[in-house]
């Protein structure tokens, strides 16, 4: 898992992840359980002002505790006068949702400069290997015809299976 992927799971900027890991010391790996722990650390630190080492320790304890039916665990913060209720199930669900995003949609930004705008987009498309006549044919159809064609392709694809 790259730093960018890991930061997405934590829901924090990569810089925050690096700075936090530097404060907590080396030896922390980019894994899902650590992402869950750091996601909780971020909330405790950012929203409640709990120092990172203390937040790390509280988060570790909260994630280790057996959860009850409500999936909510309490941790005592500060001098003992404050108790924080943490919905562990929801926290883990949020990380799982970001894992799904990582697996299906997320990709690191393309390195280097943004692609230049071509002065002639049609030549650029042809140079790239796109068949412009297919686009011209498509544009002769109505939007609903195009959508129905896509639907038919999706349906065909879902029905086709490679013979074992």
């Amino acid at each position: 898992m790259t730093l960018s992927d890991f930061a997405l799971l934590v829901d924090a900027p990569p810089k925050w992840v690096l700075n936090t890991l530097a404060v907590l010391g080396s030896g922390v790996r980019y894994t899902v359980p650590i992402a869950e722990r750091l996601a909780l650390v971020r909330v405790l630190n950012r929203d409640l002002g709990i120092a990172l080492p203390r937040a790390w320790s509280l988060a570790g304890a909260a994630l280790l505790r057996p959860v009850g039916q409500s999936n909510v665990v309490s941790v005592v913060a500060g001098d003992g006068s404050v108790t924080v209720a943490i919905d562990i199930h929801r926290l883990q669900a949020a990380v799982a949702t970001r894992r799904s995003q990582l697996a299906t949609m997320h990709a690191p930004r393309r390195a280097g400069r943004k692609p230049r705008r071509s002065s002639n987009p049609l030549s650029a498309a042809q140079r790239y290997g796109l068949d412009v006549s297919v686009l011209q044919a498509n544009l002769k159809r109505s939007p609903s015809e195009r959508l129905r064609q896509l639907d038919a392709m999706a349906s065909f694809r879902s029905r086709v299976r490679r013979k074992p």
């Binding site: 929801r90 669900a93 990709a107 692609p115 650029a124 796109l130 195009r146 959508l147």
Partner: protein, 161 residues
């Protein structure tokens, strides 16, 4: 599949705009896409309707193993701005913001009305689609960007002729 999903969203009175690959198809793209992306209004009543519809379709996280913690309610939508889901009717990605365009209000402004049969819905306009692909910067969007810019050039040429 896509038509069924769109019609159901409209029937459920969900405020949404079709974005991504399906919106690109509506604009003339020849690329195949397997999922539909929508940007939704985050107003509580709208999220409630969307959640109810998705729950009815047994929505679950796509691309990860079954059995992971998952909550499908309004609060989950507030916490996670992007949900990539698989459902009984097909794969659907729901977003509350589109990179390069903005939040739902901006997306709505950059959309146009499309009809399929007697169903009317909104889909992202070509210029906004190009802006979103440019902003996302993902390698897979580069090819789509080239195609969308070619479509824009063809449409402009058609208008001039």
């Amino acid at each position: 599949m896509f038509e069924e999903i769109i019609a159901a969203l409209v029937r459920a009175d969900v405020r949404f705009v079709v974005i991504g690959g399906v919106a690109a198809t509506i604009q003339g793209s020849a690329r195949f896409t397997n999922d539909i992306d929508i940007c939704y209004d985050t107003a509580p009543d709208n999220v409630e309707r969307l959640v109810k519809l998705l729950a009815g379709w047994n929505a679950y996280l796509r691309g990860v193993e079954r059995g992971l913690p998952f909550v499908m309610d309004s609060k989950a939508f507030r916490i996670t701005p992007v949900m990539t889901l698989t459902t009984d009717v097909g794969d659907i990605d729901v977003l509350d913001v589109v990179s390069g365009v903005g939040d739902f209000a901006a997306v709505l402004k950059a959309s146009e009305v499309v009809e399929i049969g007697d169903v009317e819905f909104r889909s992202l306009e070509l210029d906004a689609l190009i802006a979103s692909k440019r902003a996302s910067g993902r390698p897979k969007d580069v090819e789509q960007l080239i195609e969308l810019e070619a479509i824009r050039a063809l449409k402009r040429r058609e208008t001039i002729e």
